[in-house]
C-alpha cells in the first residue's frame, strides 16, 4: 500500500507536526515502505484472536482518593518557556 503526498500532509496536520515541504516526498516514501511491511500481517487469520494491549493483561490498580502530591507549581513552572502570575502563557486563542 502506498501513501500520497497529500495523505502525509493530512497525517502531519493530525499530529500537529511541522514537516518541511522539501521533506514530504521522502516521508511519503518511508511511510509507504513501512506500510508494505505491515501487509505481511494481513495473510494471517486472526478472526478469533483477542487483541493484546499489554503483556501482563493487567487491570488498572486503584488507590484511595487522597492527596499524595505536594504543590510543586513553582518548581515545574521554572522550566516552562513562558509563564506569568503562575499561569502558562500561549498565543491568544480567542480574539
Amino acid at each position: 500500500m502506498s501513501l500520497t503526498v497529500d495523505d502525509v500532509k493530512k497525517i502531519a496536520h493530525l499530529a500537529r507536526l511541522g514537516i518541511d515541504t522539501r521533506d514530504i516526498e521522502s516521508y511519503t516514501v518511508d511511510l509507504s515502505g513501512m506500510l508494505d511491511l505491515m501487509t505481511q500481517m494481513s495473510n494471517l487469520d486472526t478472526r478469533d484472536v483477542a487483541p493484546m494491549a499489554h503483556p501482563m493483561d493487567q487491570v488498572q490498580r486503584l488507590r484511595t482518593d487522597a492527596v499524595t502530591e505536594a504543590d510543586n507549581r513553582e518548581q515545574f513552572q521554572a522550566i516552562a518557556p513562558q509563564t506569568e502570575a503562575g499561569l502558562y502563557l500561549v498565543p491568544k486563542v480567542i480574539e
Binding site: 500537529r16 484472536v49 518557556p81 491568544k92
Partner: protein, 483 residues
C-alpha cells in the same frame, strides 16, 4: 582499577585499597580522555565527587551496600533532578528534570556515584545511536562502527570502561542489541519488574529499564538495586524481588534449552551463527539438553512492533507541545503554529517518522486494519513464547543478524535499520525477560548470545549467563586502546 567488577571494587573500597573519590576521579579522567566516543551527553563531575565523598563516609561507618561508592552512569532517558535530561533530543535540550526517576532514586539510595548522563538515540528510537541530537556514538571495538542503540552511549561507556556499569532501556532491543555490539552483558527484565516512573516514555506497553554491565554477576547486583514494586508506576508488578546473587552458581545439569528454527534461518550471518553454535556447545558441556523448537509467528514481530510502538509513541509524544516544558519555536503567530513549529523544529527525522506512522495507524478508518490487527498478532507471538517455555526452560538465539555495522551504513534506509532488531523485538511484545552476553568475536567485533526466559525468571537467566562466564573469557576482553 577500572577493569574490576562491582564485587571486586566493593572489596577494594572496604579494604582501603582505594577510596570512592579516587575511583570516581579515575573514571572522570577516562571520560575526558575518550571524549571522541561521544558516549556522554552530560558529565556531572562536581556532583559525582560530592557523592563519592559521601560514599566514603558511608563506607567508613560500615553502613554501605555493594554499590556504595561505585561510579555508574545513567542513560539520558532517566530523569535526574537538577540535571539536564535530554532523551537525546533537541526538544529537551533545555530540560532540567524537576524530580528523579525511581531507578535513579534507588541507585542513589544504594550509594552509587553518578558520573553523568549517556548518549542515546532520540527518544530511544533507533538501533545505531545515529538519531541522537548530540551526534553518533562510536563503538570502542571499531570506532568507525555504531555501538547499537538506542542505549548506545551505555554500551560504549561500559565497554570502554568509562563507567563500571550503566542503566539502559529496552523497547525493542535497546539494551540487548548495543550490549551485543559492544561486547557487554545486558538484561531486559520482565515488563513491570523495574519501575518506569521518571523514565521518559516511548512505547509504554513495551518499555523496560535494566542493567548494562561487564558480567552477569554485576548485572545481578545492579538489578537487585533497580527492581521492585513502585506505586508511582501503575504497571509496576507487585511481586517479591528474589536475591539475584544467591543462585548464580546453581548447576545447569538437565537445563532444557530451546533453539527456535526461525532464529537460525536466512538472514543470520554465517560467522555469527558459527560463534553461537560454539556457545551452545559450551552449554551442552555444562550439562544442558538442546532441543529444536518452532515459533511460527516470530516472523511477524517486526510489522506488529512497527504499528504498536509508533501508535504508543504518537500518543506519548503529544505531551511535547512547547507549552509547559521543552523546546518552543520563536514568535508563534497562534496556538496551532506554536504546536506545529515547536514539534517540527524540536523533533528529529526518525521521531517524526514514527509519530506519523502511529498517527496514521490510530486514525479513523485504519485503526482496525493496523492497530487491532497488530495487537492480535501480538497475542499470537506471546502464545508462541508461552508454548515454547512450557517445553523448555530457556530459549537461546542470536541478538543481532550481524556484528556492528558502519556509521552511516543504514541510517538512510529506515526499513533496513528496523530489520536489525529482528531477533529482539518479539521479546518485548511478549513481555518476557532476556539477556545478551558476550559469546565471541568475528572480524574483531563482538557477538552476543541471547537467552530468553519465562516471566520473572531473571534469577535463572543470570545463573545461566554466570555459569557460562565462569568457563569462558569473552566478557573479560578489553577493546584496544581502553586497557
Amino acid at each position: 582499577m577500572h577493569n574490576k567488577t562491582i564485587a571486586d571494587l566493593a572489596k577494594g573500597l572496604r579494604s582501603g585499597e582505594f577510596s570512592s573519590v579516587e575511583l570516581t576521579q579515575a573514571f572522570l579522567d577516562r571520560i575526558k580522555r575518550h571524549q571522541y566516543l561521544n558516549a556522554y551527553i552530560t558529565v556531572t563531575d562536581e556532583s559525582a565527587l560530592q557523592a563519592a565523598k559521601a560514599a566514603d563516609l558511608r563506607l567508613a561507618s560500615g553502613d554501605a551496600e555493594l554499590l556504595t561508592g561505585i561510579p555508574i552512569a545513567q542513560k539520558d532517558i532517566f530523569c535526574t533532578q537538577g540535571v539536564k535530561t535530554t532523551c537525546g533530543s533537541k526538544m529537551l535540550d533545555n530540560f532540567i528534570a524537576p524530580y528523579n526517576a525511581t531507578v535513579v532514586d534507588k541507585l542513589n539510595h544504594a550509594g552509587a556515584v553518578m558520573l553523568g548522563k549517556l548518549n542515546m538515540d532520540e527518544f530511544a528510537m533507533g538501533s545505531s545511536n545515529e538519531t541522537s541530537f548530540y551526534g553518533p556514538v562510536r563503538n570502542p571495538w571499531n570506532t568507525d562502527s555504531v555501538p547499537g542503540g538506542s542505549s548506545g552511549g551505555s554500551g560504549a561507556a561500559v565497554a570502554a570502561r568509562l563507567a563500571v556499569c550503566a542503566t539502559g532501556t529496552d523497547t525493542g532491543g535497546s539494551i540487548r542489541q548495543p550490549a551485543a555490539l559492544c561486547g557487554i552483558t545486558g538484561l531486559k527484565p520482565t515488563y513491570g519488574r523495574v519501575s518506569r516512573y521518571g523514565m521518559i516514555a516511548y512505547a509504554s506497553s513495551l518499555d523496560q529499564g535494566g542493567p548494562m554491565t561487564r558480567s552477569a554477576e554485576d548485572a545481578a547486583i545492579m538489578l537487585q538495586a533497580m527492581a521492585g514494586f513502585d506505586e508511582k508506576d501503575s504497571t509496576s508488578v507487585d511481586c517479591p524481588v528474589p536475591d539475584y546473587r544467591s543462585g548464580l552458581n546453581n548447576s545447569l545439569e538437565g537445563l532444557k534449552i530451546g533453539l527456535p528454527k526461525e532464529f537460525f534461518g536466512e538472514g543470520l550471518n554465517s560467522d555469527v551463527a558459527g560463534v553461537l553454535e560454539a556457545a551452545i556447545s559450551e552449554y551442552r558441556r555444562l550439562g544442558a539438553e538442546i532441543k529444536e523448537i518452532s515459533m511460527p509467528n516470530l516472523k511477524l514481530a517486526i510489522p506488529a512492533y512497527y504499528v504498536i510502538a509508533p501508535a504508543e509513541c504518537s500518543a506519548n509524544l503529544s505531551r511535547f507541545d512547547g507549552v509547559r516544558f521543552g523546546y518552543r519555536c520563536d514568535s508563534p503567530v497562534d496556538l496551532t503554529d506554536l504546536y506545529t513549529r515547536s514539534r517540527g523544529e524540536g523533533f528529529g527525522k526518525e521521531v517524526k517518522r514514527r509519530i506519523l506512522m502511529g498517527t496514521y495507524a490510530l486514525s479513523a478508518g485504519y485503526y482496525d486494519a493496523y492497530y487491532i490487527k497488530a495487537q492480535k498478532v501480538r497475542r499470537l507471538i506471546s502464545e508462541d513464547f508461552k508454548n515454547a517455555l512450557s517445553e523448555v526452560d530457556v530459549i537461546m538465539g542470536p541478538v543481532t543478524p550481524t556484528t556492528a555495522f558502519g556509521i552511516g551504513e543504514k541510517i538512510g534506509n529506515p526499513i533496513e535499520m528496523y530489520l536489525s532488531d529482528i531477533y529482539t523485538i518479539a521479546i518485548n511484545l511478549a513481555g518476557v525477560p532476556a539477556m545478551s552476553i558476550p559469546a565471541g568475536f568475528t572480524g574483531g567485533k563482538p557477538v552476543g548470545l541471547q537467552i530468553i526466559g519465562n516471566y520473572f525468571a531473571e534469577d535463572r537467566l543470570l545463573n545461566i549467563a554466570h555459569r557460562y562466564q565462569q568457563v569462558t573469557d569473552w566478557h573479560l576482553q578489553i577493546p584496544n586502546g581502553f586497557e
